[in-house]
């Protein structure tokens, strides 16, 4: 049931991504709006999948990598949709939908496929708080990454005197920079809380806040990197282009530290 819901969700996210891509290529705003509608449907179905998770195992097994990736994709979509209410960011769906698709598709492939393979839930509440907060932080920073990529592409175009024309536009540089800032403001505190709850989780299982595992070390380094980026962005009034580069590089490093290291070790 949960796997099927994830498969359907992934299909909807994929459809939203394709619609948005075609809409952007043909400069058809109606297709982009349709893509957002399909993304909303996908997010609703994704929510149903998490309800099913909860019913299957209480508390839900969020510490599982596929489940946490799925949660990150869902929170990312919800964060984007909440930004969409206040800014003209419709065209950004072209990046959000494929990212959400990858998350949901990965979960659909890796989640247990039969009732005989039970979900492994964690007994304590720290692991769940850790995954929930860290996933929220990662999702926000993923949106900052996406806004950064689009910003750099648009900046390059405008500097090269090749502006976009047509009915469908990517968001303005100002809007993209604002998304970047908001995502950092939301994402970094969540990431910080995620690190703290992670330490509580480790303390609960090993009796120490720090065991020196590669995953812990790299996560702390990534958190410190983001701490520097936040300091550069806000107190030091970093420019929009540097902030976009920082958001792209920072998220790539964070992804490696949180997921890459886990897969490699």
């Amino acid at each position: 049931m949960i796997v099927v819901l994830h498969q359907l969700t992934a299909a909807l996210y994929l459809a939203a991504g394709l619609l948005a891509g075609v809409g952007l290529a043909l400069a058809r705003p109606t297709l982009s709006r349709a893509a957002v509608a399909v993304l909303v449907a996908g997010a609703a179905l994704h929510g149903v999948a998490f309800v099913a998770f909860h019913l299957a195992a209480e508390p839900p097994p969020l510490t599982d990598l596929p489940a946490s990736v799925s949660l990150m994709a869902w929170l990312g979509v919800l964060f984007y949709l909440s930004l969409l209410v206040r800014s003209r960011l419709t065209a950004l769906v072209v990046g959000v939908a494929p990212m959400a698709f990858l998350g949901a598709f990965f979960a659909a492939l890796r989640l247990p496929h039969s009732e005989h393979e039970p979900f492994v839930g964690a007994a304590s509440s720290w692991p769940h708080a850790h995954v929930l907060l860290a996933s929220g932080g990662l999702a926000s920073l993923a949106i900052a990454f996406l806004a950064g990529v689009v910003f750099l592409a648009e900046d390059r175009r405008l500097k090269a005197k090749r502006p976009m024309s047509g009915r469908l536009r990517l968001p303005s540089l100002e809007a993209l920079d604002r998304v970047n800032a908001v995502a950092l403001v939301v994402g970094f505190p969540l990431l910080t809380l995620g690190v703290l709850t992670g330490m509580m989780w480790v303390e609960g299982t090993s009796g120490h806040f720090w065991t020196g595992a590669a995953h812990e070390t790299w996560s702390m380094v990534a958190w410190a990197v983001y701490g520097v980026l936040v300091a550069a962005r806000f107190p030091a009034h970093q420019g929009a282009r540097q902030a976009a580069i920082a958001a792209v590089a920072g998220f790539a490093f964070l992804l490696f530290a949180v997921i890459g290291v886990g897969l490699l070790t």
Binding site: R88, E154, L158, K159, K161, P163, S165, S172, G239, A240
Partner: protein, 454 residues
């Protein structure tokens, strides 16, 4: 019935002539035109780029003279334009197919000075409304304009003809929109003066700029400009202090060397904490060092850059024009078909009258020989009507369908010969009298007599 268009536009007449012929209120002119016997319906379109009369007539030569006289006498007024012969050279004339095509092309903005501009459709709708209200626009021109409006909407929907800005001012606004999300918290700084830069500033102001600063070498000029734009005037010496406060800088001032360099903008960007700055430099020689564009958060466009974008957009519009012409042709053919179908109306009406006359005559003869009660009489009456309708249904439908094509005239001719419709001795010959236009249109619409049933 012929469609005739006579007028002048931006290609045939210069602005000073067009503005003399511009008509503020077309109603009295149209009333005069349709009061003449030679013109059945008329519509007058007057914009800054064209003055055109679209007329429907059954007397072509007389209508032609009347419309030319309308331009020579009614619109030219007391002082003719460099003699009658000269005005004659400024007028164009289209007849039937080309005339209808002209109406469709104008509505779709394919004939505009700036192809794809959206205002013309609204202006044409106003002209149509005025013509309908004063009773000058009847069923046929109404249909023509409704079809033209539908074609214009299709062109706008199915092509990208109106998407890309083609004027330097609109390109500047378009670029600013790609940098800034909104303008209501933005400040523009105007350095110098000039028609093009002021047009760009006007266009940006239309988007809702919060405030405008003006700097000029001459304080008096600065103050005059400031008064015009509701701005704050400053001397050129304060330029560097003003720079960090501006989100958009527009420069157009005389001078051999740039008045703003990389260091000025680097300092401004630092003071702005990296917030973007859009610089439009229309000065020749340039007022801003081109190296400024290499600074982060500064987007510098000079006159060549803006003109380059405008030219590329214009090329794109021209490519879209081909698609627009195809749509116009398709919609015009649809209207042509409807208009041609009107020619079948007299023949169909005559055919029906003939059949009805025969039915009545035969029915009376039969009823005299039979002694029938009221119910039986009605049954026989209904039976004969049903037979006639069923017999006529196929030929009448075929005639209507075929009449929508040029070749359909042969079918009409054949019907007239086969049923001897031109023989005045035959029953129903009185229906061959020429019909009024409204009667023709009523006849063009399907009615119950045409149905296969009773």
């Amino acid at each position: 019935m012929r469609v005739l268009v006579v007028g002048m536009n931006h290609r045939t007449a210069p602005l000073e002539v067009r503005e003399r012929f511009a008509v503020a209120d077309p109603a009295p002119h149209l009333a005069k035109l349709v009061a003449c016997e030679e013109i059945d319906e008329a519509l007058l379109l007057s914009t800054c780029n064209r003055v055109e009369v679209v007329a429907l007539t059954r007397h072509l030569e007389a209508a032609r003279h009347r419309l030319r006289a309308f331009f020579h006498r009614d619109l030219a007024g007391e002082t003719p334009v460099q003699g009658a012969a000269s005005l004659e050279n400024l007028l164009f004339e289209y007849l039937d197919g080309p005339a209808m095509r002209q109406v469709f092309r104008v509505a779709a903005s394919l004939d505009s000075m700036v192809v794809g501009e959206p205002q013309i459709l609204g202006q044409m709708k106003d002209a149509y409304r005025a013509a309908v209200e004063c009773g000058a626009c009847g069923a046929i021109l109404s249909r023509l304009f409704q079809c033209a409006f539908a074609a214009a909407k299709r062109v706008r929907r199915e092509t990208r003809i109106g998407e890309r800005p083609v004027s330097v001012a609109r390109v500047a606004v378009d670029l600013a929109k790609q940098i800034f999300e909104s303008f209501d918290d933005k400040t523009a700084l105007l350095v110098g003066a000039g028609e093009m830069i002021e047009t760009a500033l006007e266009a940006l102001r239309g988007e809702g700029l919060r405030s405008i600063l003006v700097a000029n070498r001459t304080q008096a000029h600065a103050e005059a400009l400031a008064q015009r734009f509701g701005a704050t005037a400053r001397g050129l010496g304060e330029l560097r202090e003003m720079l960090p406060h501006a989100d958009i800088v527009l420069t157009c001032t005389a001078g051999e060397t740039p008045i703003l360099g990389v260091a000025d903008f680097a300092e401004a960007i630092r003071a702005r904490h990296g917030r973007p700055l859009f610089v439009i430099d229309i000065g020749v020689p340039r007022n801003v060092d081109p190296g400024v564009n290499r600074l982060d958060s500064v987007y510098l466009y000079d006159i060549d850059d803006l003109a380059g974008v405008a030219a590329a957009n214009a090329d794109e519009r021209r490519r879209e024009t081909m698609l627009g012409e195809g749509i116009v042709l398709e919609e015009q053919q649809r209207f042509d078909g409807w208009l041609l179908a009107l020619q079948a109306v007299p023949t169909i009406r005559h055919l029906r009258a003939r059949a009805e006359a025969i039915r009545q005559a035969e029915l009376q003869r039969a009823l005299q020989r039979l002694s029938l009660g009221e119910n039986e009489r009605q049954a026989v009456e209904s039976l004969t009507r049903s037979i006639v309708n069923k017999l006529l249904h196929a030929p009448v439908s075929r005639l209507r369908a075929e009449a929508e094509r040029e070749e359909g005239l042969a079918y009409l001719e054949a019907a007239r010969v086969l049923f001897a419709l031109d023989d005045p001795e035959m029953p129903g010959a009185e229906a061959a009298e020429p019909a009024a236009l409204d009667d023709l249109l009523r006849g063009a619409l399907p009615d119950s007599e045409d149905s296969e049933g009773t």
